[in-house]
Structure formats: C-alpha cells, structure tokens
Symmetry: C2
Subunit: 165 residues, 2 copies
DNA sequence: CGCAATAACTACAATAATTGTAGTGAGTGA
DNA sequence: TCACTCACTACAATTATTGTAGTTATTGCG
C-alpha cells in the first residue's frame, strides 16, 4: 500500500521526516550539503538506482528542500541545489554522522569523514546548549513540555513518558 | 525488490540510517526516548500498523538500539527500552525536532513540544561547538576532511564537493 | 561527416514491502 | 463465565523498489 503520510501528526520530528522522504533522500541531502549538484554525481556517490533518484529529487523539490536549476541551455544541463530550508538540515546529517562515528556505524573502525573548524583545525561536534546563554546543558537536564502547537496526543505522550523517565 | 542495504557504504550517516531502519523506526526511538515502553503505547502514539511496528521493533532489536524485556511473568508482559546506543540517538531526534520547529514542519504554526532546561527553565537548542574548547562554531566555518575510515568514494565525494562550495 | 561519449533521465518486469482489517492466545478482574 | 487488556500474527490487496536497458539531446574528436 501507499506509504502513510506523517504530515498530519502534530510532531516536528514526523513533519521533518515527511519533508525529507526516506533514507535515500537524506543521502542526497548529505551530498548536496557537501557540494555535489549533478544527477550523475549523485548517482555515483549514493549508488542508488536512477528511478529512485529521479523520484526522490522530485519529492525533495516538491517539499521545498531542493531546487532544480538549468545551468546550460545547450546542451540542456541541470543541477540540484539545496534551498535555505535544505541547507538547514545540515544539523540533522551532522547528528547522524556524529552518532555513526561514535558507534562505528560505518564498520570501518574510524570516522570516514572528519568535521573540523576551518580556522583552528579543531574537531567539531554538536552540543546541547541553553538557547539564551549558550552554556552547555547535560541531556538528562532536558525536560519536555507541551508547546503551543501541541494536541491531545502530544500531551498524552509527554504525560505518559513522564511517568517512567 | 529487497531494500538495498546501506551497511557497506563507508559512511557514518548511511550506517546510522541502516541501524535505525526507516521513518517509523525514528518515531519509535522518539517515543522510547520520551519514556514510552509498551507495544500498545507505541501503536497508539505512532498510529502505525501492528505488522510494521512488530517488524521495526525486531529490526531495532537486531541492530542493538532497543532491548526487549519481560517485566511480568504472569501474565507475560514485555517492554521495549533503548540501549545506551539507542539513547544516544537523542541528538538526532532533537536535530529533527529543531529543524521541524524552525520550518513549521508540523504545520501547526508553533512547536508541539518545547525542550527546556529542568534547572533554569530556559529553552534548549543544538549548537555546533569546538570539541576541545566548547566554543561555538559557525556552520560555514566547518570543513570536511577524509578521515582514517575513508575510502576512494569518500575522497572523491569530498574532493568533488570542494570544487563548488 | 561519422562515431563515441556525456548528461539526464524514462521504461519495464520482477520482486519486496506496506497497509488495513481481522483474529489469536494468554491471562486477569468482576 | 464474560468482558477486557496486552501483545502480537495472518492475510490479501496494493504500492514501492530494484536492476537492466534504452532514450534524447548535444558536444568533441578524428
């Protein structure tokens, strides 16, 4: 059957996953973030079948994460670039990369890619910080609270989860 | 055809996606992170079909993100809890939530869930920081470099991307 | 000019996966 | 005994995914 939509779920995570699409889409976003832009580059890099690639690019275009641009009239040549919204997914791919590095998800015993500060040359990581002060916050200090966009299910979920933290 | 595996891709992102499975799996991880643990809680919370839920739980168990525990002999009752590896995916779900909040992926005009510091009550966010000093780093300061686990394709990808940043 | 090559896909048939609905079994509480 | 909860499984219908092959448009080379 048709894949069920996550769009009407009152959840930012579900909405984000819906906008992205699937695993392949995230690999595309990864590559576009790095700087790849052409169809055949994406195919080479991801190894995905052409039908799936074309389909996912259409999806990412329809959800506004990717823009298809013609960079040559003759011959007709296209490139795919991330929109501001798509570029912002950088944090998501970096979170996945950081997790994958820590737990050796690549199976190579060492990170395939290092993220480093262009200036200092130091490695970079994602951290939980106080949005106002910028001070680091330990994850067990984080608490969930229904927000203005919450519905009954969200409230139930948080209440249910609070019983056994 | 059978979904192609991401396991042998020399990429931590691909490896992480393989370990997780698919969109539904991430919704499960979200719920387990919050504190839900029982099969029917997960079904209510996610709204996913039972066959898919059972399948995804088996997958998450097989990749070591989730542990199935019997918490009652009579009647036989089970609960699903995240392993250390699974709990660590917290950063990924938070990255998705943060992106979704920023771009209103939930379609509700406001975040369904607020992440706040238990102590100060301040909102919390993910930030890119220097792994050594903890200082904040702007995303356009981040550079990619092939790591010790890189292969030819990773090197090609980074080199290709560096041409047009 | 003729021919190979490149970019960017589409077509197609086989195979898998997903979905909704329904049903199962084990056990409890009334 | 009956209704109920929990934790799933069975099943058929429908869709999606995959690999291979082929297409269209154009350029560069000899």
């Amino acid at each position: 059957m048709k894949a069920k939509s996550f769009a009407d779920m009152a959840c930012s995570i579900a909405g984000a996953l819906e906008a992205i699409g699937d695993r392949w889409s995230l690999l595309i976003v990864r590559d576009l973030s790095i700087g790849l832009s052409r169809y055949d580059e994406l195919q080479t890099s991801t190894g995905m079948p052409p039908t799936t690639l074309a389909d996912r690019l259409r999806h990412l275009e329809s959800t506004g994460l990717v823009e298809k641009r013609r960079y040559s009239q003759r011959p007709p040549r296209h490139e795919y670039v991330l929109t501001a919204e798509g570029r912002d997914l950088w944090v998501v791919t970096m979170a996945l990369a950081q997790w994958g590095d820590r737990w050796d998800a690549s199976g190579r015993g060492a990170p395939p890619v290092d993220f480093i500060d262009r200036g200092s040359g130091h490695p970079i990581r994602l951290a939980c910080v106080d949005a106002q002060t910028g001070e680091p916050v330990a994850i067990d200090q984080v608490r969930l609270r229904p927000g203005r966009g919450a519905d009954d299910l969200v409230r139930w979920r948080i209440a249910q989860g609070a019983k056994r933290p």
